[in-house]
C-alpha cells in the first residue's frame, strides 16, 4: 500500500536530502519520504515505474559507489543516503518527424554531440531500466535506428543517463529521435490499417453504424447481446 502505518515492524536508518531518519523496512524511497512528512510533488508521477519522474541518486554507507534508481520502485535499506533529481536540464531538438528527409544525417544536425561519445559506458551503468545506452547511441550514430528502437523501448525518459554523460549529450532524447524516425520514415505503412482505412473512406461501414445509432436502447441490447 502507499500508506505505511506499521509502527511495530523493523526500522532502518536512512538519510533523505542530507537529514537522518528512521523509517520502516520494506518502504520504497517515496514511501519513506511520506513517512517522514515530506510533501512530494516534484519527483512523483505514476508511482508505477514508467513515467521517469522520480530519478534518484543514492549511496550506501561504507561504499564509495554512487548509485541511481527510480524512487517509487526502490526499497530503502539500512545506511542508505538518497536525494531526488526532480528534473535534469536537457536540450531538445525542434523538428517535425514528418518533415525529415534524411533522418540519419539530420541526427547530426539536431544532436551533433551524439558523435562525441567517448565510450565511457557510464550511461549504461546508471540506467535504472537496464538499457545498454552506450550501444544505442552508437547504433544511432551508425544509422541503425531499428536497433536503437529494440534497445531503448523501455526508456522512461528519466534523464539519469544525461546526469553522467561526460560528452554532455542527452542519450534518451537521441534515442527518441531515432525511434520516431524509424517508425515514421523507415517502417512501411501497415497494410491491414491501409486496407481498413480505404474501406472506411469508401463508406463501407457508415450505413450499418448509422442504423445501429438509430435503434432504441432495447433494440440495440438485443442486437448486440451475443458475440457474433
Amino acid at each position: 500500500m502507499e500508506t505505511q502505518e506499521n509502527e511495530t515492524g523493523p526500522m532502518v536508518r536512512v538519510s533523505i536530502n542530507g537529514r537522518e531518519y528512521s523509517v520502516p523496512q520494506g518502504s520504497t524511497m517515496v514511501q519513506a519520504m511520506w513517512y517522514t512528512g515530506h510533501e512530494v510533488i516534484h519527483g512523483i508521477g505514476c508511482l508505477g515505474g514508467v513515467c521517469g519522474a522520480c530519478a534518484t541518486v543514492y549511496r550506501m554507507e561504507g561504499d564509495f559507489r554512487l548509485r541511481n534508481a527510480l524512487a517509487c520502485q526502490t526499497l530503502v535499506a539500512e545506511g542508505m543516503s538518497f536525494s531526488m533529481l526532480d528534473s535534469y536540464p536537457i536540450q531538445r531538438a525542434h523538428y517535425d518527424v514528418a518533415a525529415l528527409t534524411d533522418p540519419k544525417e539530420e541526427l547530426f544536425t539536431f544532436y551533433p554531440e551524439s558523435a562525441t561519445c567517448r565510450n565511457c559506458n557510464a550511461c549504461t551503468e546508471v540506467c535504472p531500466q537496464g538499457i545498454d545506452v552506450r550501444d544505442a547511441v552508437w547504433r544511432a550514430n551508425f544509422g541503425d535506428f531499428k536497433a536503437v528502437a529494440d534497445l531503448t523501448m523501455s526508456c522512461v525518459m528519466c534523464g539519469l543517463c544525461v546526469s553522467r554523460c561526460i560528452a554532455e549529450m542527452a542519450p534518451h532524447e537521441i534515442a527518441l529521435y531515432a525511434r520516431r524516425a524509424y517508425g515514421a520514415k523507415e517502417l512501411p505503412f501497415p497494410p491491414n490499417l491501409r486496407q481498413r482505412l480505404d474501406e472506411i473512406h469508401s463508406g463501407a461501414f457508415s450505413g450499418e453504424l448509422k442504423r445501429l445509432e438509430g435503434l432504441s436502447s432495447a433494440e440495440l441490447k438485443k442486437e448486440c447481446e451475443v458475440k457474433s
Partner: protein, 531 residues
C-alpha cells in the same frame, strides 16, 4: 525482502488445469450483483446537491462533489487575468496533449495547464493497447457491438459510433508520428485479444503502449506553438456571460498563488479518480488522479452520467505489498495466462469482461478461497507461466518486458512464479455528460477523455480508453477552434465565480451543520499523520 517473498512462494499449491465453470447470463448478473463494488450498498452516499441530486454514488466521490471551494468567500476575480487565450486545455494526459496539438495546428492561441508534468497521467501507464478493428472479418461494426455488450448496453450509441468509426484514422495519425506499434509478419499492426471482445483487436507497443504514446506526443507538444503551465492544476472554472464558461483559476503548486486564465473555450481533460481510493481499494492510477474535473464541472451545474460506475481492474498486484495496486495488463490473459484460487483451481474464464473477472476474484477471497499474504491481504494467483508453455519459451519476456522488469525488481520472476493479484481501482466509467462534438451543456466548456462519460456504459472494454483520448481529444480541438473563432467577444469584467457562491448556498441548505471537505483535493495525502 527476498526472504519474505521466497517463504511466501513455498506454499503455492499445484495448479489444476481443468476448465473453469462457464457462466450463463443470469449467473453473470448474480455474480456482479453480489460482489462487484458498484452494486454493493456499503460505502455509498445519496447526493443531496447538484445536477445528480438523488443518485447513489461512492462516499468518497460524494465527498468531492459536495465540497467547498479552495477559494474562500467572498470571491472576486482580479482586475486583469494572468493569461488571455483562445483555448485553455486543462490536463496534460493523452486527451489534453492530443487536444492541444490539434488546436495549435489551426493558429489559435492555446494554453495547456496540468497538475504535474506534461504526460504525468493514467495514459502513460496504459500497458495493454488500443482497440482498432483492423483484422479480417472484423469491422467498426463488430467493435461497436462488443463495446455495447461489454458496457451492459448503457453506452451512448452516438459517441460509440464516432469512436469506432474514427478510431482507425487516429491510429493512422499515431503511426505517422513515429509511434512503434508491434507488427505482424506482413508488416501489419499485430492484433491481440482482450476480454469481452469477439475478435483480436488490440494494437500495442509491447506492454509499454502508454509510455510509447506519451513519449512521442509529448515531444510534439513541446515543439508546438502551445504555452504550457506545469505544476498548475485548475481549481475552479470561471463563469462568463449567460452562464457560459470563460476560463479557469489555476493554482501554482510552487508559488502557492492562484493564476487566472481567460479563455474563449475551455477543454476539460483532467482524467480519473483512482487516488480517491473508493471503498479503500488500491489503485493503478497516477498520483494526481483525484477527479478534479468532476468537482469543478459539478459545481458549475453540469450533470454526470454513470457517476456510480467505476472499473476495478481484476489483476492488480497485491504482494509484495509495496507494489499494491500496480496493474498486470489484461493482455496477459488474452495471451493465455490463467488464474487459480488457493486450492489451485480455476474459478472463472479469464476472458470474461473486467467486471465479471473482478467479481469472481472478490468472491473467491470473500468465501475463503483466496490466498493470504504475510500482511493479511488476500488475492488469487495469476499464472503467466502458462503463456510460455503454450506459445514457447521467451514469449512472456518478449511481449511483456515491463511486467517482467517490474516484478523481478521485487523478487518475483513472472516466468517462474505466479503473481498474486486482487482487483485495483482503475477507471472512471462515467463522467461529465457531453455530445459527440464533446460539448457539455455549458457554452464554452468541452470535455475529452476519462473525465467525460457515456461512451463506455457501465463497464469499459480494454483498449477503448486510449482510443477515446485520441478520437475525442481531436474532436474537442476542432470544436474549440470553431467555437473560439465564432464566440462573441466578451470582457474579463463580465466574468465571475458566482456559480461557486450559488453551489455553496445550496450546500449550506442541504448540510446545515456539517463542515464539508474542500476540493479539488489535488493529491492523496499518504504522509504519516503524526510525522
Amino acid at each position: 525482502m527476498a526472504e519474505l517473498v521466497d517463504s511466501f512462494y513455498q506454499s503455492v499449491p499445484s495448479f489444476d488445469e481443468s476448465q473453469p465453470p462457464a457462466l450463463s447470463p443470469e449467473e453473470r448478473s448474480r455474480l456482479l450483483a453480489a460482489f462487484y463494488p458498484d452494486y454493493r450498498p456499503e460505502g455509498k452516499a445519496t447526493l443531496k446537491v447538484g445536477a445528480n441530486k438523488g443518485m447513489v454514488v461512492p462516499q468518497e466521490l460524494a465527498n468531492i462533489l459536495e465540497s467547498r471551494s479552495r477559494i474562500p468567500a467572498p470571491r472576486s476575480l482580479p482586475d486583469q487575468p494572468d493569461h488571455d487565450v483562445d483555448i485553455l486545455v486543462i490536463g496534460g494526459g493523452g486527451a489534453g496533449i492530443t487536444a492541444a496539438l490539434f488546436a495549435s495546428m489551426e493558429g489559435r492561441s492555446v494554453l495547456l495547464a496540468t497538475k504535474l508534468r506534461v504526460g504525468d497521467s493514467n495514459t502513460i501507464m496504459a500497458e495493454g493497447g488500443i482497440q482498432a478493428a483492423l483484422g479480417e472479418g472484423d469491422s467498426p461494426v463488430e467493435h461497436f457491438r462488443d463495446t455495447f455488450r461489454g458496457g451492459h448496453g448503457e453506452n451512448d450509441a452516438a459517441l460509440l459510433s464516432v469512436l469506432v468509426g474514427e478510431g482507425p484514422e487516429m491510429v493512422e495519425w499515431l503511426v505517422s508520428r513515429g509511434i512503434l506499434f508491434d507488427r505482424d509478419m506482413q508488416g501489419g499492426l499485430s492484433l491481440r485479444k482482450g476480454g469481452g471482445t469477439s475478435r483480436p483487436r488490440l494494437i500495442s507497443a509491447k506492454d509499454y503502449t502508454g509510455l510509447e504514446l506519451v513519449r512521442v506526443l509529448k515531444e510534439d507538444l513541446m515543439n508546438a506553438p502551445v504555452e504550457i503551465l506545469e505544476f498548475s492544476p485548475a481549481v475552479e472554472l470561471v463563469s462568463g456571460p449567460d452562464g457560459s464558461c470563460a476560463g479557469a483559476v489555476l493554482y501554482d503548486l510552487d508559488s502557492r498563488k492562484n493564476v487566472y486564465v481567460k479563455a474563449r473555450t475551455v477543454i476539460l481533460s483532467t482524467g480519473g479518480a483512482g487516488r480517491l481510493h473508493l471503498g479503500g481499494f488500491a489503485t493503478s492510477n497516477h498520483f494526481g488522479a483525484t477527479a478534479d474535473g468532476l468537482t469543478m464541472a459539478y459545481r458549475m451545474g453540469l450533470p454526470l452520467v454513470h457517476p456510480e460506475s467505476f472499473q476495478f481492474h481484476p489483476t492488480g498486484v497485491i504482494f509484495p505489498s509495496e507494489m499494491a495496486g500496480m496493474l498486470i495488463t489484461e493482455a496477459v490473459r488474452g495471451a493465455g495466462a490463467r488464474m487459480y484460487n488457493r486450492h489451485g483451481r480455476r474459478f472463472v474464464n479469464e476472458l470474461e469482461t473486467r467486471d465479471v473477472v473482478a467479481s469472481a476474484i472478490i468472491r473467491e477471497c470473500a468465501e475463503g478461497r483466496g490466498v493470504e499474504t504475510p500482511s493479511g491481504d488476500r488475492g488469487v494467483f495469476l499464472d503467466l507461466v502458462a503463456i510460455d508453455r503454450d506459445s514457447g519459451e521467451g514469449t512472456v519476456a518478449k511481449r511483456f518486458p515491463n511486467i517482467v522488469k517490474l516484478m523481478n525488481r521485487h523478487h518475483v520472476d513472472p516466468t517462474k512464479r505466479p503473481i498474486l493479484v486482487y482487483p485495483t481501482l482503475h477507471y472512471q466509467n462515467g463522467g461529465v455528460k457531453a455530445d459527440a462534438r464533446t460539448r457539455t451543456s455549458i457554452f464554452g466548456l468541452l470535455v475529452a477523455g476519462e473525465v467525460s462519460g457515456g461512451l463506455h456504459g457501465t463497464n469499459r472494454l480494454m483498449g477503448n480508453s486510449l482510443l477515446e483520448l485520441f478520437v475525442f481529444g481531436r474532436r474537442a480541438a476542432l470544436e474549440a477552434v470553431a467555437l473560439s473563432r465564432d464566440r462573441p467577444t466578451f470582457s474579463w469584467k463580465e466574468t465571475t465565480l458566482s456559480h461557486i457562491d450559488r453551489f455553496e448556498s445550496e450546500l449550506v441548505k442541504a448540510f446545515p451543520k456539517q463542515d464539508l471537505p474542500i476540493a479539488p483535493v489535488l493529491f492523496p495525502d499518504y504522509r504519516r499523520k503524526d510525522a
